[in-house]
Amino acid sequence: MRGIYTPVTKIRRQVFAEIAKFGYEGGDYSVIEELPYKIIPGQTPSYRDSIFVERAIVGERLRLAMGFDLRNVEEHAPISKGIEENAVDQKQFNLPLVNVIPFACNACDETAFFVTDNCQGCLAHPCVAVCPVSAVSMEGGRSVIDKDKCIKCGRCQDACPYSAIIKRERPCAAACGVDAIESDELGRAKINYDKCVSCGQCLVNCPFAAIADKSQIFQLSRALSTQRKKVVAEIAPSFVGQFGPLATPEKVIAALKELGFCDVYEVASGADLCAINEAEEFLKEVPKELSFMGTSCCPAWSMLAKKHFPDVKDHLSMTLTPMVLTARIIKREHPDAQVAFIGPCAAKKLEAHRKSVRSDVDYVITFEELMGMFAARNIDFGALETEPQQEQVKVTAQGRGFAAGGGVAQAVMNVIKETHPEKEFLVDYAHGLKDCRKLLTLAKAGKRDGYLLEGMACPGGCVGGAGTLQPIHKATASVQKFAGEAPQNATENEYAKLGIKE
């Protein structure tokens, strides 16, 4: 539902803005108990049976936005439970990242086909003829589906000339590319964390706002407010165009400084290094050591390989991700600073939680969460003064192009073409977890030998991440335009040649 402002969007963004404001202002923690009344005012419910349930759900969302665990619904606890330990200016994070708020879930039916009133009881009734298990019959002048026999192949739906047969799916389950959405004993959605790769697409697609991920905006806002330590922002290439028409890249950088960040780096610089390293790795490993190589930068794609395709998990590049490479550049230049990654991605929060990355990246927030911080601080993009950005690291069109589907493989390919023009190889892409699964299935079967494979868990690549604000096609166009303004190609990146790789 990207690009459509719904009550779900409204509540989610209000929660982020209020928590960011609370983080900046600090003060009496009991104020948090009043926020559900501010976000859901009045005496009558708008969307559910009871206004008390609506406020209780907002209470859980507020907790998740502060990085806390959900409360146990069977025990009394204030929203602020645990706030003393967590109201600090450093990251607080416990698994799981993505959570279903059980009493917000509509307990939607699992996938099923239904015959609607559009059925005309036609003479042809092709729905009956095409069903391979005789689950469809004509009763009382209309088509009927026997749910016990139905194998959900959808042939009846395709054959109906009146579009009278519909498929109803749980939106969260339909969006999940790894079948991680199951049901609890009350029929409500439950995430199987053994399967989940934390891409966040379920939370984007739940129309009841029953799924949310934990945020770090509270602790980040505290850090920016106290200024106990300097905080440097690293912003992912898909940021362009996310914050509205007045928020040009220069204005976004100025706005980040207004929020309290001492400096801002484009993650595109780390993306350039990533492309160079992956190209070297590909040339060295494929086909001698590895039959194919997958890119490394999408954490949900990497997790998909580890959890669902363990036989080929070692075929993914070992190169550090652009987030980590950029963080290391920053920590080298600002050794005392904390680093906040700002991007489109929910799964990056988990990547930053890995033991090997914790010391590099201190906070991860999404564009949507950043928008809440901008709103909390009343940032006025129109009035912001921009100054010429000091160029910390030169970035290339390819580095900026990582954000759109196909961009990573293109960047690696360009490096190889530049350095080893004689090298012949093939490239394949997959965007969206379902397609990523298909691609890895083919690769595992030996049908992608010699290939460089780009996998992106979100539709359209990072521009379709769970934490983005703009429709994918618009975001892609903005990324491509901004990439076109970058001056160099990857192998001319002087900074990369000057030793950052070391």
Binding site: R13, F243, P245, L246, A375, N378
Partner: protein, 90 residues
Amino acid sequence: MRQKVKVTICACSNCMNTGASEIAHAIENLSEIEGLLHEGQEIQIVTKRFAEQAPHSDICPVIAVEDKVFERATAAQITTAIIEILKEEV
């Protein structure tokens, strides 16, 4: 019929956070609805900060269709207003 409608959208962070950007998409999408706009008709979208409304976090998003200012605007409200103006005889 009117040939042009001017829509002014406040692009401050509070308006963007409360749906101004999505309303802009809804307006842009009007041209894709077959038969809705007649040949030569144009919807001009202008983005700016509504300085006279500052600060206005409690009435966001603020959007004007020609001279009429909508507070707490919704996509349906704005697109309906645009279509009504485009139908006006001049």
